[in-house]
Symmetry: D2
Subunit: 318 residues, 4 copies
Amino acid sequence: MKKIGIIGGGGYTAGELIRILQYHPQVEISYVHSNSQQGKTISDVHEDLIGETELVFTGDLHFEVDAIFLCMGHGQSATFVEKNDIPASVAIIDLSRDYRLSESYVYGLPELNKTAIRQSNRIANCGCFATAVQLGLLPLAFAKKLNQPVHIHAITGSTGAGQKPAPTTHFSWRNNNISIYKAFTHQHLDEIKRSLHQLQPDASLELNFLPLRGDFPRGIYASLYTQTQQSLEELYELYEDYYADHPFTIVTRKNPYLKQVVNTNKALIHLARHEDKVLIISMIDNLVKGASGQAVQNMNLVFGWEETLGLQLKALAF
Amino acid sequence: MKKIGIIGGGGYTAGELIRILQYHPQVEISYVHSNSQQGKTISDVHEDLIGETELVFTGDLHFEVDAIFLCMGHGQSATFVEKNDIPASVAIIDLSRDYRLSESYVYGLPELNKTAIRQSNRIANCGCFATAVQLGLLPLAFAKKLNQPVHIHAITGSTGAGQKPAPTTHFSWRNNNISIYKAFTHQHLDEIKRSLHQLQPDASLELNFLPLRGDFPRGIYASLYTQTQQSLEELYELYEDYYADHPFTIVTRKNPYLKQVVNTNKALIHLARHEDKVLIISMIDNLVKGASGQAVQNMNLVFGWEETLGLQLKALAF
Amino acid sequence: MKKIGIIGGGGYTAGELIRILQYHPQVEISYVHSNSQQGKTISDVHEDLIGETELVFTGDLHFEVDAIFLCMGHGQSATFVEKNDIPASVAIIDLSRDYRLSESYVYGLPELNKTAIRQSNRIANCGCFATAVQLGLLPLAFAKKLNQPVHIHAITGSTGAGQKPAPTTHFSWRNNNISIYKAFTHQHLDEIKRSLHQLQPDASLELNFLPLRGDFPRGIYASLYTQTQQSLEELYELYEDYYADHPFTIVTRKNPYLKQVVNTNKALIHLARHEDKVLIISMIDNLVKGASGQAVQNMNLVFGWEETLGLQLKALAF
Amino acid sequence: MKKIGIIGGGGYTAGELIRILQYHPQVEISYVHSNSQQGKTISDVHEDLIGETELVFTGDLHFEVDAIFLCMGHGQSATFVEKNDIPASVAIIDLSRDYRLSESYVYGLPELNKTAIRQSNRIANCGCFATAVQLGLLPLAFAKKLNQPVHIHAITGSTGAGQKPAPTTHFSWRNNNISIYKAFTHQHLDEIKRSLHQLQPDASLELNFLPLRGDFPRGIYASLYTQTQQSLEELYELYEDYYADHPFTIVTRKNPYLKQVVNTNKALIHLARHEDKVLIISMIDNLVKGASGQAVQNMNLVFGWEETLGLQLKALAF
């Protein structure tokens, strides 16, 4: 059994990580660190865990573990890593944005970097929108066919906005509501572009990206289209080949819907063609494949385990 | 045209009041007062009002109006009334709890006190749960038949908890969720009991009241039952007679559902009988009949107008 | 008072029409015709109307009215008009698609055809998606600036799919779910293109339109973007000028959200600029401005009344 | 590995069973039988299962399995068992109501009948409301303290109404709505009363039960109260003792909320006291602990396995 430490244990991604890791057959959670919650039980904060764990948040830190997950806010991971003398043997999986564009961390999207992840123990876990968008585009870039502007709309659940209350996460406001934010300028564009460029150095990087706030808690539903000359059948072959060795990314020929992936680590990809364009539907659970599930998938790779270990999660379905 | 001032204009009930009063044929809003929002336009805060009003929140106060509505938090109305020298000619309609048990204000539930409201200009607007529960019980108390314990279960929308964010109004938490609060001890019980006692001095005041937080923004759905010897037909006659002159409270013989009243000033009452018990369903929109719509209804009575003036609101229905 | 007949009275748009017309100051509903519901009361079917109307669905038809609204399914309006000898003096407002591309009916979008609507009494009411999309693009076409492909993404509420149960309107499925349908091929594209061509004969008609099924009952939220050389200020002036005489279409400089228009006849339009593109947000309530409210607006114009008569509806807001 | 057959594979409970059993470490699904769906793949119908199973619905029936689960509609299980010659060695777990009051099947509520379930292979799986209500009352009956009328309100998710569309499961209707049905007369009362009588032959069986339709897909939230003389501490001890050996039923001293149990096989029980009454909150996921999860729990007991095998499900939480 590998020993795990979780840093920044009070937020949504840490909670989701605990939910997954507690039943992972090869790890045990050594501690969950939180400055703000220390002394409370885990289930005082992540209340659905009542009856499943007796763990208590700690304010004491140590690195006698095999891996740590950094679940703090953006900016705080880098500070933490600088301030603490983390042994090189301890794997670090950072769920923040801090190292995603860094050379010293492997960008943690297994569908792009599986081999590199297996050989590293410094992983910058991929962002949620970035996961959904990249899974929709990677095969095209891999085939050097991403040559035209891409039009991307993606609707996200409210958990993407985190735990801290805001006017746009107030139930009275968000129920049955839709709105847009950061149109064309979302901060995940940088990491997306770097990945596309990695696969196709001359890829078109005109990504017109409209993120929307959806009136549901979990999930990202992305629709993307671009011009391409390949037939639908060629495109399906390309995508199916690309994802053949990636157990969580499923290419489906049937028009999918978001709840097929909610509460799972799966991504669903669907293609359609209209005149000279291909439409790509890509969807994930933002807290699982878009955050904590993918972090566990990365850990499995780092430790040389089966990628799906501990991640065979029952879908919500309804 | 009567002139209206609204005090405490930034909250949910003030917004709802403006939505209704702006199209009321006999009034004009002179000012909307708010310490926290002064200088902003009304539609900066109540954003759906964009295009409908050019009003700006003011920090200046005056009483050269025919009526003021107090929409501040509980406790602040009494302070406001004490600190300001409000002319006796200015009608005061207070939406807080502060004067509901006072002798100097008429308790503003038209289905109980219509004549007194018409003769007064100091009105303590009835609470939201209190409206739903009383409308379910008043005819029984009027007939002196409220002699046994009452069992009350009422689910409220999130707007009942106000605008200020709280863990229990966070969308990620409240969506598809249900919980209970203040079981048996909700603060509206006092005003309910006083009204029942007013109609039936020896009424049973054992009211077992379970309030629940529903996963919808608007509405209160209450189910009540108690033992009674009257037949269903006698009960329907009693309720239909009692509400015959109350245009907003409708007795229906068909099992109703909450969205029949959402966005209206209506209350729906339905009765059923099982063995020795009567089941009473009572439902309102908590922000309309449970707050601002009822405040306008009270104003109409105070000014001697038709009770329904400005309150013929299109139901949401879906 | 003008007399009104409603044909096909059992569906969503007829219900919404009755909700609005019952409080319209210049009309009375003479009859509501329905083959399937005849003999039932209106509130047996449109249950929120309980206590507001004593009308009964009729199976008898006559044309001793001033206007009829056709609320039947697509295809049935044309059949009805052919089979019945409707006097030329009776205004016909058809809510189906049947006459939208016809020369003999005026296309009922007041923001495009107000003068023609005023001079006609044969109106083909504009479709719901078509309303949202056109309101986003008409000023550009009017200024002859619609010269580049347009990218359109629009999310609709479930009431757009009508009353008949379907797998995609089952609550267990649709709650917290998102999906796409008729990508690039939605049937409203034809009417949209005709309108754009009317204003700008050489307009780009490459409209890439992705309609999505949202997990809310009411509303359409559309985001559109296209290349343009005008500055944001020039664009705002263009839109504000274009809509200056259209009381229901509001141009706002603040990022809006869908619930600002729910349960109203308003459309909200917002603009933003990114590099060489303009982003246009356009939103309506699909049952009101997208159907029955717009039908009443058209009727007001046909009868020479104030456009807003009977349409000053309180927003839901929450 | 034990071999499993599922009969009536197209409905909600069968889908949920497949979701759970596919990752159960000790079983393999031999076949999923469905007359209506035969020839389709499992994921054509239970679409979230795409990528997880290649199984196809079969119309052929055989009993060379270790257990069959009957997931047909109420009434059809008994017909099936009568018409087919099922070997005595094949365990039958019936999810319908058909055998719940029968002497020949063990009533499948492990918290009541764990020993008997272990010794049988004919199990009538407990109903969903019946599970929530009984888990709230069993300890009181066990202690012979259920001597006064019980007042029960329980709100259920839409999946409790099954897959077949109905007016009350239409999204446009059910979203943000609440209604009551079968007040005082729900068909689960019989099985509840039999269990209470089993533990306390002189128990009060006056159960005033109001079931409500909630506007969420999954879960049952039940509140129950009755008069009792025991202190809160005595009651907690009683409940904690009773459930000490039942890993899925958790007694919590903190006011819980429904989403703590959604997508899990857990039940949460909370107690409070007010004057002479105890309030009991009991909640489950109606499709898991209220149906398919409990069916697997029963199977585990029948086969002599650890009760929690295959049932350590990640909570949805949000």
